[in-house]
């Protein structure tokens, strides 16, 4: 597939809209999931906000999904019980900051997390895209400076795992279009490397951490 600058802009705008919609729906789902079982809307919103931050901090500490669900359910129950006598605000204040609570609950090191791994993978992917962008820009500038009319240049480089850059110029020799075509291998190889290396590393470090439970 060849992507020109104009079509890439439209795809990015559409993609950003879909991402925002998915994030908004996900956030509403989280609020419903983490709200207090009883109390006013304000109490439920305060509880949902606290428990969401607690769950997020637990995830960054490497706590597995099933254990997080058990811990957040227990906390919601306890907050609801405490709120009946002392109010939600006071009971949340006595819990302290959700990050500190999560750090105290998951005190031992649980090894690397998928959240952290995904964050790093996203960073690497972004750097690769920037590399592609600047390489394409250098190529387009070079072709444009040759002032060749109606040029159609296609370059495939092993540096980006077989990605092809395509530049065309108009009759005046100005840039007409710039396309970048990535092969499936360019996406598959990094994804495969991520899965192959992260799984044993994660399991190995978790096994070490599990043997070090302290009270």
């Amino acid at each position: 597939m060849t992507v020109t600058i104009e079509s890439a802009t439209a795809v990015l705008a559409g993609g950003a809209g879909i991402v925002l919609l998915v994030l908004a729906l996900g956030w509403i789902g989280m609020v419903i999931r983490f709200r207090a079982p009883v109390g006013s809307w304000r109490d439920q919103a305060l509880t949902a906000k606290y428990v969401m931050r607690y769950d997020n901090a637990l995830e960054w500490r490497g706590v597995a999904r099933a254990e997080r669900r058990s811990l957040t359910d227990e906390l919601r129950r306890n907050i609801a019980d405490a709120a009946a006598t002392e109010g939600v605000s006071d009971s949340l204040e006595r819990l302290g900051h959700p990050r500190d609570l999560a750090n105290a609950v998951a005190a031992r090191d649980r090894g690397p997390t998928w959240a952290l791994g995904s964050f790093v993978a996203l960073g690497v992917w972004f750097m690769l895209q920037m590399g592609l962008f600047f390489s394409a820009d250098v190529l387009a500038t070079g072709i444009e400076q040759l002032e060749t009319s109606n040029a159609d240049v296609s370059v495939t480089t092993p540096v980006f795992l077989g990605t092809t850059f395509e530049v065309t110029t108009d009759a005046a020799g100005d840039l007409n279009s710039l396309g970048v075509e990535s092969s499936a291998i360019a996406l598959l190889i990094p994804a495969l490397a991520f899965v192959v290396f992260s799984t044993p590393w994660r399991l190995g470090t978790r096994k070490t951490a599990r043997s070090a439970v302290e009270i």
Partner: protein, 110 residues
Amino acid sequence: MNDVDPQMLKGLVTLLLLHLVAEREDYGYALVVRLREAGFGDMAEGTVYPALARLEQAKRLDTYLVPSDKGPARKYYRITPAGELELERTNAAWDHLTGLVTGLVSKEKP
């Protein structure tokens, strides 16, 4: 009532929780209330809940769920054989420590 230093309490939370759960199986907030009724009003939920989680992870406490009319089930804690051994050990350590401290601070100054 005299104030109790929260830092001193943090070191005792394991002993207190094991003792309370050995006395009667209970859930998180109820244990906080029992601690307050016993005079430990400064023992915040932010200290008690992580201690319970760590005791469960270390298999000193076991848990079971009791369904609730509304919302998530209550998680009850009960002591395990390993927890009973830990309680005996910490009780003995506490007795030894209080003996030493009492002996030292009650000495008449020359």
